[in-house]
């Protein structure tokens, strides 16, 4: 147990690993009366069977349709009567369960999640609707070009299985059966590699006792891993009669577990943090080329990437892409001290502001454990942000130029992509 202090925030963290391999992380927050839980279990799209793409997404809906002694309606009504706000989603690596509640309801809510993960009913009657909803999601993406771009750029840039769209493929979904998906669930369900994080008005010992009681019998085996395949990369255009052209860029970056990832995060703030950041200011404010323009950093355990996005009408699309590439090139020449100062202040402020939200803290300590093997304290986050000086930043930018880019566009006509600027 450690005590941390950042600008007056006093929180205590506790960590333990159950004998079955489940990691429990608890952060006690004195100034709230809520509690939030995040469970990450390695049952995401990246471990879908190769002929069952989209399985995790269907499971994420099916798994909450009755568990333990409660059928679907009883389970939903029970959690609603406790006022628990919740969401379950399949992601690339994990299936994520989030729930927020008044802290005194945690002893009733947590056992329900034990039932969902260890004893889901996966009823025959619920399978059809769960799959039907997943199919509808696939169609809905066709109606939202910005969402479609997000899936396309990841699936083209990342090596499989990490580039897989969570929504999967229609023909695979059609071929799924209740028996097959139940078997897939049994195959992938494991406490080892799973993370359970609780933050809020809670005490470590009480949460640990609850978790041991309700998750202690979870089976323990190696998480399923799928074989890796090469990424497609390159330039890709998808024809669509949309009002705006969607532009996506991606290039490789260090993963978050790399000691230099803080430098990259500060760099991303300079490029695309607040309204004064480079992309917004150069492309939107000075040229009026688009409404949305941004770049973000995403990382899994062993890979990272920078993803860029802009949406603009066809007449301005070429100029937007050219300006975006120009800004990325110019960035390797370095940033100014005042830019770094603003990025550092911004990141530190976020750390403190997120420290007020139990849901944000539960998500953050689970994230930390996955990337860093332990929850990080707010003080540690602040010190890491402050440790970067301009020399280190500019050395990093020079050494990590944007290159070997994947470019995806969706719109009425393809754009001219200058090969020399994306290579």
């Amino acid at each position: 147990m450690s005590t941390l202090k950042t600008a007056g925030i006093k929180a205590r963290q506790g960590v333990t690993t159950l004998s079955n391999g489940l990691t429990l992380l608890v952060e006690s927050m004195p100034d709230v009366r809520s509690a939030a839980l995040t469970i990450l279990t390695p049952m995401g799209a990246a471990s879908d069977p190769t002929d069952g793409l989209g399985s995790a997404n269907v499971l994420a809906d099916w798994i909450t349709r009755g568990a333990g002694e409660r059928d679907n309606r009883e389970l939903t009504d029970y959690l609603d009567s406790l006022g628990a706000q919740r969401a379950t989603n399949a992601e690339t690596v994990f299936m994520r369960f989030n729930a927020s509640m008044l802290a005194d309801k945690l002893p009733q809510v947590l056992p329900v999640y034990g039932d969902i993960l260890l004893r889901p009913m996966l009823p025959d009657g619920g399978f059809g609707p769960s799959r039907d909803l997943a199919m509808q999601q696939l169609d809905a993406i066709e109606d939202e070009p910005a969402q479609k771009l997000n899936l396309l750029i990841k699936s083209r840039h990342f090596a499989q299985p990490y580039g897989r769209p969570v929504v999967g493929k229609k023909e695979h979904l059609t071929a799924l059966t209740p028996a097959g998906l139940r078997k897939d669930f049994q195959n992938r369900s494991t406490a080892r590699g799973s993370i359970l994080a609780v933050a809020g008005a809670v005490e470590f010992a009480a949460v640990r006792d609850l978790v041991e009681q309700h998750f202690g019998s979870w089976v323990s085996k190696e998480p399923v891993q799928m074989p890796a395949e090469a990424a497609a990369g390159g330039v890709w255009h998808e024809q669509q009669a949309s009002n705006q052209v969607q532009i996506g860029l991606a290039f490789d970056a260090i993963p978050e577990s790399d000691p230099d990832s803080i430098v990259l995060q500060l760099a991303m703030n300079i490029l695309s943090g607040g309204m004064g950041a480079r992309l917004f200011s150069e492309i939107r404010e000075k040229q009026g080329l688009c409404y949305s323009v941004s770049a973000g950093y995403m990382s899994l355990k062993h890979l990272g990437a920078v993803l860029g996005y802009a949406g603009t009408v066809p007449e301005r699309a070429q100029k937007t892409l050219d300006s975006f590439l120009h800004e990325l090139q110019r960035f390797s020449a370095g940033a100014q001290q005042d830019e770094l100062d603003r990025a550092q202040v911004g990141m530190k402020a976020r750390v403190i502001m997120n420290g007020e939200s139990s849901a944000a803290r539960a998500g953050a300590i689970a994230h930390d454990f996955y990337h860093y093997g332990r929850p990080r304290t707010l003080d540690e986050l602040r010190a890491r942000i402050e440790s970067v000086d301009l020399k280190r930043l500019n050395t990093f930018l020079e050494a990590h130029r944007a290159g070997n880019m994947t470019v995806v566009t969706i719109g009425p006509a393809p754009l001219a992509v200058p090969v020399d600027k994306i290579g």
Binding site: L133, M275, G288, G311
Partner: protein, 408 residues
Amino acid sequence: MVTFKHTQLKNGMDIVAEINPDAQSVAIGFMVKTGSRDEAGDVSGVSHFLEHMMFKGTSRRSSADVNREFDAMGARNNAFTSNEVTCYWAHVLPEFLPAALDLLADMMRPALHSDDFNMEKKVILEEIALYLDRPGHVLYEAIMKDHFRRHPMAYSILGTKESITALTRDQMQTYFDARYGPGNMVLAVAGKMDFDELLRLSEEKCGQWKHLDVRRQYPVAEIKGGVRHIADPKLKRHYVALMCPGPSAQHDGRYAAQVLADAVGDHEGSRFYWALVEPGLADEADFSFYPHDQVGSFFAYASCDPARSGQVADILRSELQKVILHGLTDQEISRSKNKIATAAVLQGELPLGRMRNICSRWIYNKEYKTLEEDLQLLESVDAAAIKKVLREYPFNPITTTTLGPAAS
């Protein structure tokens, strides 16, 4: 211990503050009682366009200064425009509150330079194009028009490509001069602060703004209902929206209406959920309560396969009919109250959530309620209160607007 303070400057500007010494941050916002419903004449979209222009500099600052200063405070900041209000806000660490107030107050007296106006016009046209690619938004704008007809709530927030292209800087200036009087805005602050210092700075920064007599028109909404389909062969999905009258933001029944809307159409565990989403007939089916200034609506929205459009619309209507005939069960009311109460407590733990809450309440009702008082009002909702709302607002007349690939 959380305390509330209200004061009014001589020029009529209200300042409301909820002081929480235990908070780690503070949220500050200027909310102006103006939006698309106040756009008389030929200026559709001016409220929202003006919101963008407020970031474009003042007599003391350039547009780049404004953005850079927010970043230098590490602020989370933004603005939004609705049919009825325009709000400019920042969430900062307590030591930056004076700087945030100085910047936001300066922004409230914008320069509105012609070249900035022309540049930003392009960005607004981009935003319009962006939303045209979002079927949910296209349908919402359409049903507001169909439902409210000649009432100003029918006016589009973004405006159209044509209205924005035709809009001039001088028209915007005229709109600003008529609507941004200090008596027509509220300065709201929630979180950790020194209130006396806040008051002193507010007087210094805003005290010299001239009082203006600003009024909003409240014509009677003549709601007749009706049915319209918008065909878009590009779309893969069918989208359906229903709208009917509901209590206003000033109506006593608004807490009951909120519970009613949750029980009928929250995204999980509601009547719509069990009738449409759980069986997989629609991937989304919601029912919401929109309390506006002196007028209100209930709004239903679903998306489904085009082949199921008739079935889904029938189920939406028949579920509403069942509620009219039989009301809600006590268990449903209790569950919905618990869900709404939890959401309010969670929102109340964040200064930004409290600022938005006290700000809106002051704009609409000139009143303050602590979180506890709010929760008590919610707790007092029972079956009789729900029935009373349903008697007064029996989901009728209904406006139905649909959007999808089918021709009719």
